[in-house]
Amino acid sequence: MIRKFYYGDYGESKHGAADISTTNQNKHEWPLWEVFIRSKQGLDHKHAGSLHAADAAMAIENARDVYTRRQEGVSIWVVESKHIHASNPDEAGSFYDPASDKVYRHPTFYDLPDELQYM
C-alpha cells in the first residue's frame, strides 16, 4: 500500500481519493469574484484574492471583511472571475520578452550620484 504524506496531507481515505473534480459546477454555488484592493499608499489596485458572493454588492462587502481585516485597503474593486481574460502562459516568451530589452523603462537603469536623495 502506498501512502502519500505531505504536510496536512494524510493520504487518501478508504472512500477513494479526494483530489479530482467529479461533477461540473454546482448550480447553487454563488459565483466566484476576483478582488482588487488599493492600499492607503498605493496607486494601483492589486489582486488580493477571490471569494464567493451572490452579487456585486455582497462581493464588495465580503471583500472588506475578508481582505481588509488589517486595514490593508482604502478602495475595493470586484469582478466576476468568469470575466477575467488571461494571457496564455505558453506564449509568455513572445509576450513579455520584447520588454526585457527595454531596460530604460526601469529606474535602476539610470546611474545617479549617491548623494542625490529621495529619487
Binding site: A54, A57, N62, D65
Partner: protein, 270 residues
Amino acid sequence: MSQTMIQYEGKIAQIVQEDPMLQFLLYAGDNALITGHRCSEWCGHGPILEQDIAISNIALDYIGAARNFYQLAATRIQAKDPSLEVTEDTLAYLRDAWDFKNLLIAELPNGDWAQTTIRVYFISSFQWLFYQQLTQSSDADVAAIAEKTLKEVKYHLRWSREWVIRLGDGTEESAKRLRQALTFLWPFTGEAFKEASYETATSSATTIQLAKLHELWKQELQEVFAEAGLEVPTQQAFQSGGKTGKHTEYLGYILAEMQFLQRAYPGASW
C-alpha cells in the same frame, strides 16, 4: 486568598445607583455586549464562509463598542472612589441579570439566519439614529465613543438591510422564514423607544430625543420593508423590561456561560 475579591456588589453598585449617566453608559454597553455575544455564536457555523467572517466582524465591533462604554464607566466609578478596583471586566463579568440593562431583543436566541439578520437590522437601524444624536452629546467622552461606533453601525445597518431585502425577495422559503422571524421579534422592537428614568435624567447631556428617533425609525422601516415585501405590523410592540433589569430567561443562560471562568476562579487575572 490574599488578593482582594473584586465584586460589583456594595460600593460599585451604589455609585451606579446614584448616577444616571453611569446607568446610561451601562445600558449602551450592555446592548453592545449582548448583541455581540449572540452574533459571536455564529462563528464557525455560518451559512457560508464569507458570511461567517462578516458576522464575526460584526460581533467584534459590538464587543469593541461594549468595551469603550464599560471602560468609560469604570474610569468614572473609580474617580468617585479611588479605593475601588473597577475595570471593564468587573462590569461585564460580575454583574447579575437584574443589573444588566440591555434591550430584550438583544438577548433572544439567534434562531435561523432570517431571525439573526432581521434582529441585527432592528438593533442597528435604531443604533444608527441613536448614535447620530449621541455624537452631539455635551459629554465629550460619550460623543467620541458615539462617533467611533457610528462608523461601524453604518456597516451593520447596510449588511443587515441587504439581508432583509434579499431574504424577503429571495425564495418562497426565505420569505416565509423572514415573516416568521418578524412575527417573533416584532413585540420586542418598541422597547428602545420607551424612555427609562436614566434616559430622562441624562437627556440634556445626551441630546437623545426618543420620540423623534421613533419617527425616523418608522420611516426607515417603511422603505426597507417595502423593498423586502414585508408589511410593517400594526400590532403594538409591547414587550419591555430589559432597560430596567427585568429580563427574559435567556439572559441568565448567556451570563452563566459568559461569566463562568470569572465566577469559578474569583479574583484570578486572565
